[in-house]
C-alpha cells in the first residue's frame, strides 16, 4: 500500500511528465535527500534551494507570474510564518491586478503533531492560512486523496496550500489503482548508496480528486463529525472505542479534504439531517478555522448543538508524550466528546 508520501511522489511524477511542471523545489527537496519526508525522491524536476523560506515562496510566485506552475515545499509548516506577507500578496495578486496575474502554484507543507516534533515541528497552520483570501487549502487523510488532490491542485490555476499530515506521511495507508506490490523497492531511494540510484516508476493510471468536495467516510443520522488530515484516523479510532450500538448508523463522518473553498452543500446537508455538529482538528482552538465552519453551518442549519474540539491554545506542542497528549485531541478526548454529543447521553 502506498504511503501518503509515495502517493504525492507519484502524482508529482505524473505532473512533471504530463502537466508541464518543471520546478519542484525547497530545502532538501532535491537529491540526495528528496525531502524530509521522502516525497520528492527521484523526481527529475526536484532541486535544492537555499534554506530561505521567503526565497522559496518568492521564486514560486515569480514562476507563477510568468504563467509556470511549480510545486514548492516549506519543510515544516512551522517555518512558514516568516513568509506570511508574501503569501498574502500571492493570494491577492489575481484580484489586485484585475485578473491579469493569476498565481498558479502549489505550496506543500507537512503539518500537525503526532511524531513528537516538539515546539517547532508540530504546528498546524490551516487557521492562519484560511485568513489569506485567494488561497485554496487542501489536506488529504489518505494516499488516494493525496494523489488526486495534488494533481488537481497543480491544474487549479490558483495558489494552493497543500498541507500534509506529517504523522501519516510515511505510514502505508491505501493502495492506488495499478500499484505494484514492490512499490517501495521501485521508488524509495536506498538509505545508503543512492548516488547512482534511479527510481523505476510504475505505470499508475492518473486520476484527480476534486477541490471543494468532502468525502463521507461513515454515514449516520444523529451527529455530524467534520475533520481532516490526521484527525480523521483519530476520530475513527474514537468511534471504535464506543459501543457499536451507540454509533452504528448514527455518526456522519465527513473528511473535509478541502478547507478552502469548503463543501458548504455537503456540510449543511449533513447537519440538517443530524442536527448536531462536532468539528475536530489539531489547530489551536482560539480563532480556529473550525469556529468558522461552526458559524456558517449553524447560521444555515440551526443545529441543536455545535462543538469544536481543537488543540489547547498553548504556545506550542510540547515534546514529551504527556505534553502532546495534553495539547492536541487524542482518541480518548474525541471519544469522550462523541459520547457526550450522541443523543441520549445528556
Amino acid at each position: 500500500m502506498a504511503t501518503i508520501a509515495q502517493a504525492i511522489r507519484l502524482a508529482l511524477r505524473y505532473a512533471e511528465q504530463e502537466l508541464g511542471v518543471r520546478n519542484i523545489f525547497g530545502q532538501d527537496v532535491g537529491p540526495p535527500l528528496g525531502g524530509a519526508f521522502t516525497i520528492t525522491q527521484g523526481l527529475d524536476s526536484a532541486w535544492n534551494s537555499p534554506l530561505d523560506e521567503r526565497g522559496i515562496v518568492g521564486t514560486a510566485a515569480g514562476l507563477a507570474m510568468m504563467g509556470e506552475t511549480c510545486v514548492c515545499e516549506i519543510q515544516f509548516g512551522d517555518y512558514i510564518f516568516n513568509t506570511v506577507d508574501l503569501l498574502r500578496l500571492i493570494g491577492n495578486t489575481c484580484w489586485a491586478t484585475r485578473g491579469q496575474f493569476p498565481m498558479p502554484m502549489v505550496l506543500m507543507a507537512p503539518v500537525g503533531a503526532g511524531r513528537h516534533g516538539g515546539i517547532y515541528h508540530s504546528h498546524s497552520i490551516e487557521s492562519i492560512l484560511s485568513h489569506l483570501p485567494g488561497w485554496k487549502i487542501v489536506m488529504p487523510s489518505n494516499s488516494r486523496d493525496a494523489y488526486g488532490l495534488m494533481v488537481t491542485a497543480i491544474l487549479d490555476g490558483n495558489p494552493v496550500a497543500y498541507l500534509i499530515p506529517k504523522a501519516l506521511a510515511l505510514s502505508p495507508a491505501q493502495a492506488l489503482e495499478g500499484e505494484p506490490v514492490n512499490l517501495k523497492e521501485r521508488i524509495n531511494a536506498p538509505v545508503k548508496g543512492r548516488e547512482n540510484w534511479r527510481p523505476d516508476w510504475p505505470e499508475i493510471p492518473a486520476f484527480s480528486v476534486p477541490i471543494g468536495k468532502l468525502d463521507r467516510r461513515r454515514e449516520g443520522d444523529r451527529l455530524t463529525v467534520v475533520s481532516y488530515g490526521r484527525m480523521i484516523g483519530i476520530v475513527e479510532s474514537a468511534i471504535e472505542q464506543i459501543s457499536e450500538s451507540r454509533v452504528d448508523g448514527h455518526i456522519d463522518l465527513l473528511d473535509l479534504r478541502t478547507l478552502v473553498p469548503y463543501d458548504m452543500d455537503g456540510l449543511t446537508a449533513s447537519v440538517r439531517k443530524t442536527g448536531a455538529l462536532l468539528v475536530v482538528n489539531e489547530d489551536s482552538e482560539q480563532t480556529n478555522f473550525g469556529e468558522h465552519l461552526i458559524r456558517v453551518v449553524s447560521e444555515a442549519t440551526s443545529p441543536r448543538t455545535a462543538v469544536l474540539l481543537g488543540a489547547r491554545h498553548l504556545p506550542g506542542v510540547g515534546l514529551s508524550q504527556s505534553l502532546e497528549d495534553h495539547t492536541v485531541p487524542t482518541v480518548d478526548r474525541v471519544a469522550k466528546a462523541l459520547d457526550h454529543m450522541l443523543p441520549g447521553t445528556d
Binding site: 526565497g55 518568492g58 515569480g62 507570474m65 510568468m66 484580484w95 492518473a206
Partner: protein, 372 residues
C-alpha cells in the same frame, strides 16, 4: 435670502472639479480659473484622449526620453492635485527619478512570456511604464478609482500599475517583495531571451528579500538573468540613508557576491542610458545578474500623506534637459482632456470587489480521470 447648503455644496464640487481638470495648483484655487491656463496654447495639435503621446516632436531617442520624463512629471503633478482636491485618495510616485527610469524603459523589451523582459517595479517606477508603452489616462483612472482602471479596477493606489501583456509585474506597497518574486520570473527565463529587471529603493534593501536576491541569483551553476536596480534617493520615508547604512554605497553589498556593479548619476540621461545599456547587454548575454545603483532625487516627498510638497533642495533632472516649453503645453492639454474624460467615467461599483478572487483553471488533460 436663505442660502441653500446643498446648492452651495454642489457649486463647491463643480469648482473643485474644474480646478483639478485645469490643473490649478491647490494653493490658488480661490483665484481665477484662467490664471493657471494663461500660458497654455488652446489649439495645440493634440493626440487622442485615449492614446499616449506619439512624441510628435521627438525624432530621436533622446527626445523620446526627455519627453517621457516630462510626461511622467506632468502626470504625477496632476495625480497629486487630484489628491489635494479630494478626488483621489492617496498618491505616491517617482518625481526626481524620471531621467533614469525613462532610460530604463527605453531599453526594456516589453512583451508577454519568458522571451521578453519582465519588470518588477516599485511605486516610483511610472516613468518606466510610460516609456514602455503605458498610457497616462490609465494612471489617472487608477488614481480616481474608476471602473475603467485597467491595472486594478479601483483596488490599488496610484502608480501601482501592471500589464501582463507587457510583462510589467504588479507593484506592491510592501517594498522588497519584488526582489523575491524576481527570483522566479528570472528562473522561468533561464532558457529564454528575456531578462528580469527588479527595481527598488534604497530603504527596501534593509529587508531580507534583498539578501535573498543576492544569494539566489548567484548560486554557483544557477546564476539568474536579473538586472538589479536600486534607485537611491537617500531617504526612506523620513529616515535618512546615512542613519541606517554603514557603507556609503549599496553596490558594496552586491560586490560581496561577485556581482558586476555600476553606480550612476540617475539625474543624467547620458550617464543613465549608457550604464543601463551596458547592464542590459551584460545580463542578456551572460545570463548573470548585474547591479545598478542610481543616485536620484525625491522631489515631492514620500507620498501625499506627507503633503507631496516640492522639496526645494532636491535637484530636478528636468532642469538639466530644458525640454521645449511647447512640449509641456501639449502634454498638459492632453492630460487636461484625459482628466475630464476620466471624471465622466463611472466610479467602480462596490460589488466588483467580488471579481477576480480566483483565476481560471488550467487546461484539463483529456486523458485525466476525474474522481468523485
Amino acid at each position: 435670502m436663505t442660502k441653500d447648503p446643498s446648492a452651495e455644496k454642489t457649486v463647491a464640487i463643480h469648482w473643485l472639479r474644474a480646478c483639478f481638470i485645469l490643473g490649478l495648483p491647490h494653493e490658488i484655487r480661490g483665484g481665477s480659473v484662467f490664471v493657471g491656463r494663461s500660458t497654455l496654447p488652446m489649439n495645440a495639435d493634440l493626440d487622442s484622449q485615449t492614446t499616449r503621446s506619439p512624441h510628435v516632436n521627438a525624432h530621436d531617442l533622446r527626445n523620446r526620453i526627455v519627453r517621457n520624463m516630462l510626461e511622467s512629471r506632468c502626470l504625477d503633478e496632476r495625480l497629486i492635485l487630484s489628491q489635494q482636491y479630494g478626488l483621489g485618495h492617496f498618491w505616491t510616485g517617482g518625481p526626481g527619478e524620471e531621467a533614469f527610469n525613462s532610460c530604463l524603459g527605453a531599453l526594456l523589451n516589453p512583451g508577454r512570456g519568458p522571451d521578453f523582459d519582465f519588470l518588477l517595479p516599485h511605486y516610483r517606477s511610472s516613468a518606466i511604464a510610460l516609456m514602455a508603452g503605458e498610457r497616462s489616462i490609465d494612471f489617472i483612472r487608477q488614481m480616481l478609482g474608476r471602473e475603467t482602471d485597467p491595472y486594478s479596477q479601483g483596488r490599488n493606489f496610484a502608480n501601482h500599475f501592471c500589464n501582463a501583456d507587457r510583462n510589467l509585474g504588479p507593484v506592491s506597497s510592501p517594498v522588497n517583495s519584488q526582489f523575491a518574486f524576481g527570483l522566479g520570473t528570472a528562473r522561468a527565463q533561464l532558457n529564454s531571451r528575456g531578462i528580469t529587471v527588479v527595481v527598488g529603493g534604497d530603504a527596501s534593501t534593509h529587508q531580507g528579500d534583498f539578501a535573498s536576491l543576492l544569494i539566489w541569483s548567484t548560486r554557483p551553476g544557477n546564476n539568474l538573468p536579473i538586472l538589479i536596480v536600486i534607485t537611491n534617493n537617500g531617504i526612506g520615508i523620513s529616515t535618512t540613508y546615512e542613519s541606517q547604512h554603514a557603507r556609503p554605497s549599496i553596490v558594496d553589498r552586491a560586490e560581496a557576491f561577485g556581482i558586476r556593479t555600476a553606480t550612476v548619476d540617475g539625474l543624467s540621461v547620458d550617464d543613465s542610458y549608457s550604464t543601463l545599456e551596458h547592464a542590459f547587454e551584460y545580463v542578456r548575454t551572460e545570463r548573470k545578474p548585474f547591479f545598478v545603483e542610481a543616485r536620484v532625487s525625491r522631489l515631492f516627498g514620500h507620498a501625499s500623506s506627507s503633503g507631496a510638497h516640492r522639496e526645494a533642495d532636491a535637484e530636478d533632472p528636468l532642469d538639466r534637459e530644458s525640454p521645449p516649453v511647447e512640449w509641456r503645453a501639449e502634454i498638459e492639454e492632453r492630460l487636461c482632456r484625459e482628466v475630464e474624460q476620466v471624471l465622466a467615467e463611472p466610479p467602480v461599483e462596490g460589488s466588483s470587489a467580488e471579481l477576480f478572487v480566483w483565476g481560471n483553471p488550467r487546461r484539463w488533460p483529456p486523458s485525466l480521470k476525474r474522481s468523485a
